[in-house]
């Protein structure tokens, strides 16, 4: 009895092993068949990370393939979460097998350029009819431009806006926010909401420790700065920078926003989606997330980032399409990347609704995807938005910044003391980077 069970188990294991081997072989053969069956077709790979944008990317690929019969584009999706996309990209670039065309963000652009992974697209762009300077916002071009050379075609961009929950405003009998708000209006309304008596655990607004969406826009609007042009020094000790941060801490201290510990346990986004926040700042990429949540999607709308110091504050950041320098089909890859920047491709992407297309003439499509919402709040002043400050050590700097500023946000230290320490640490990282 025992023996036969053992035998059965062995057989089972063997069967499983055999099956894995077979499927492994099968996959390989499929690829080979794909290659041979299509004859002289060139296959290029296209690396992306967002599942939500996959359908749009597939539409782009089929539109391109319809025009270029001899090219076959294969999408490779690797999740962004936990840095998986970058880890895989770096490993495959080391091994010479990175995707021919891939999404790139500003955070990684410079170190990837230094690593020799990105193909210089300057000449190809000049020869094409893309006219980058005329058709794209300057801030987005500058993100992928190093020493006057372009290393990616801008793909999309994101800015920030103020979302609000109409149900909470209605209940408190307070007027909704408007596009022409100033920061003082925001604070005054938050106070009105608080005085009207919100439900337990509900707050007028949130001031989370989020650089891109919250305090960078106000720092730059206030004339402050984070990183100088040479990337040798940080601006945390500039009083204007600190003012841009202090207004958020004031919201917490006034009890208008939950405290930092609460927002660390439950993110501001989650609180807003749970109907526990009357207002929240959110990047344009949060739109699909909010609108797919049935608990709030009928009760929310958005307005522009309130004016601060007489300026429309915003931080603009975005992705680009890069070409792998080790690509075996450079010509086809460059052609595809350039086409992705064309009016036609940018329109397809914009109508997909997930992101705002980078090209000037295609920005309008994002707002058109949901006429019930004031999505133009994201694009109205994008031309004067400040580009996200980045350098090769950004990941390290952002970590340090969050780790230090949290002491000021929680009230354990003053902002001035925190910024002094933060500047010392950050400048040291820059020193190391520039060595």
């Amino acid at each position: 009895m025992k023996k036969s069970i053992k035998r059965l188990a062995t057989l089972g294991l063997l069967a499983i092993m055999g099956a894995t081997f077979l499927t492994a072989c099968g996959k390989k053969e499929e690829n080979k068949d794909g290659g041979t069956a299509t004859g002289k077709k060139t296959t290029i790979t296209f690396g992306i990370w967002d599942e939500k944008q996959r359908p749009t990317m597939e539409n782009l690929v089929s539109a391109y393939e319809a025009k270029n019969n001899n090219v076959n584009v294969e999408i490779q999706l690797t999740p962004y979460k936990g840095g998986e996309y970058w880890t895989k990209l770096e490993a495959s670039a080391t091994g010479g097998t990175a995707p021919d065309v891939f999404w790139l963000n500003t955070l990684h652009a410079e170190s990837y350029k230094d690593g020799g992974i990105l193909l210089d697209l300057t000449d190809s762009i000049a020869k094409s009819d893309l006219k980058l300077e005329d058709n794209y916002p300057k801030a987005l071009i500058s993100m992928y431009q190093f020493d006057g050379k372009m290393y990616a075609i801008p793909k999309d961009f994101d800015t920030n806006a103020l979302w609000y929950n109409k149900a909470i405003f209605d209940k408190a009998g307070v007027a909704y926010p408007t596009d022409d708000w100033t920061w003082d209006d925001l604070v005054a309304t938050a106070k009105k909401l608080k005085d009207a008596g919100l439900d337990a655990g509900t707050y007028p607004i949130a001031a989370p420790l989020d650089f891109q969406t919250d305090y960078y826009p106000t720092i730059y609007a206030n004339g402050g700065w984070i990183l100088n042009d040479d990337k040798t020094e940080t601006g945390y000790e500039d009083p204007k920078t600190q003012e841009g941060i202090q207004i958020w801490i004031d919201l917490i201290n006034a009890g208008l926003s939950p405290d930092l510990a609460t927002m660390t346990d439950t993110s501001a986004d989650a609180m807003f989606e749970g109907g526990k926040l009357a207002m929240v700042f959110a990047g344009s990429y949060m739109t699909p997330e909010y609108m797919s949540n049935d608990a709030i999607n009928k009760n929310v709308n958005l307005v522009e980032f309130p004016e601060f110091n007489g300026i429309e504050p915003n931080i603009i950041n975005g992705l680009g399409y890069a070409v792998y320098s080790g690509s075996k089909n450079k010509e086809a890859a460059v052609d595809f990347a350039l086409w992705l920047g064309s009016e036609e491709a940018m329109k397809i992407q914009g109508e997909g609704g997930a992101v705002i297309s980078a090209r000037n003439d295609a920005q309008q499509y994002f707002a058109a995807t949901n006429p019930d919402l004031n999505l133009a709040a994201y694009t109205n002043h994008s031309d004067i938005a400040f580009p996200l400050p980045v350098c090769k050590s950004s990941a390290e700097l952002y970590d340090l910044e969050a780790n230090q500023l949290k002491w000021a946000y929680s009230g354990e230290k003053t902002l001035a003391d925190t910024c002094k320490e933060l500047k010392a640490g950050a400048d040291e990282i820059l020193n190391k980077m520039n060595k």
């Binding site: 970058w86 770096e90 992974i117 439950t266």
Partner: protein
């Protein structure tokens, strides 16, 4: 020359008959999957890591030899000592507490009560659950605003708090999850050890009038020391390598961030977030050296308390 080859052939022939050779080939084929796996996934990366630790390595594995530079910087790095302190704290608390709990539960489940197999399964469940899922669930339990822990405490009139944001409590909260996750696995091993103890010892002791406590401390524990030793070694090693629960439960904006960062967390950040793989490799070697020293120390000390008879 000719003579030498001749004699070589002779010795080989004398040593291995055809049949033996066949058996060798078969043996090598059988161990090949394991050996190849070890070489490719453990030995080679270890050597590469060792080499990296003497180099400046960027995101794309472009290496520049820098000698002991990484180690020099590492010794000066305040963060290293902070993470080392947190890691030691984690090990020193979770290992003894986890071990004591595992022994206690194993003893209770070694008795003849109804439904032991159900209890064994329940206690073992955390070991087969994904740690990321576990960490997420516990994160909700600890949530300051909506967490079940604070609700329960509130029921007894105790005011809760943001457990994972408080530098005084966060590491202990993570330790509880760590212990909860490993108790089941250790319990199963200890239980197997207990069932290997001959019943006749207990019968003899009972006749001599030894009560249950006396029997536990004079028979069970001494006879179980080899198993306890094994569990201790593996727990200490995994304690030094704690990563996923902390990574999932403590965000960067938590006030408890500094007081919960472990050595492996630091390694991970430098290797994968900051793209400084050489420095990260030096941290990995540091972790390796500490674990090795602690393990050697344990093997020396075991002569004093582990009973193999």
């Amino acid at each position: 020359m000719g003579d030498m080859t001749k004699s070589n052939v002779k010795t080989v022939k004398r040593k291995a008959t055809r049949r033996e050779k066949k058996e060798w080939v078969a043996a090598y084929i059988f161990i090949a999957p394991l050996v190849i796996g070890l070489l490719v996934f453990y030995i080679y990366p270890f050597i590469q890591n060792f080499w990296f630790s003497f180099n400046d390595v960027n995101r794309f594995n472009i290496t520049t030899f820098t000698g002991l530079e990484n180690y020099k910087n590492l010794i000066k790095d305040k963060e290293l000592f902070q993470t080392l302190g947190n890691t030691l704290k984690y090990v020193v608390i979770t290992v003894p507490v986890g071990l004591a709990l595992s022994i206690l539960i194993a003893t209770l489940l070694n008795t003849k009560i109804r439904g032991t197999s159900i209890y064994r399964t329940i206690y073992f469940l955390p070991s087969v659950t994904m740690s990321v899922a576990i960490a997420l669930v516990w994160k909700w339990i600890y949530n300051g605003e909506f967490g079940i822990l604070n609700s329960i405490l509130g029921f007894f009139g105790i005011e809760g708090q943001n457990w994972l944001s408080n530098p005084k409590t966060a590491l202990y909260m993570v330790m509880i999850v760590g212990i909860w996750m490993t108790v089941g696995y250790n319990m199963i091993i200890l239980l197997a050890g207990m069932q290997g103890i001959s019943r006749s010892y207990y019968e003899a002791a009972a006749i001599d009038g030894a009560g249950p406590f006396k029997r536990f401390f004079s028979i069970t524990i001494p006879m179980l020391t080899p198993t306890i030793f094994f569990v201790m070694i593996t727990s200490i090693i995994s304690g030094f390598q704690v990563f996923d629960t902390i990574y999932m439960m403590i965000p960067k904006t938590s006030l408890a961030y500094e007081s919960t960062q472990t050595l492996v967390m630091m390694f991970y950040r430098y290797a994968f977030d900051y793209g400084q793989k050489g420095y990260a490799a030096a941290i990995a070697i540091f972790i390796f050296a500490i674990i090795m020293l602690v393990t050697i120390f344990q093997f020396i000390m075991q002569k004093k308390w582990v009973n193999y008879d």
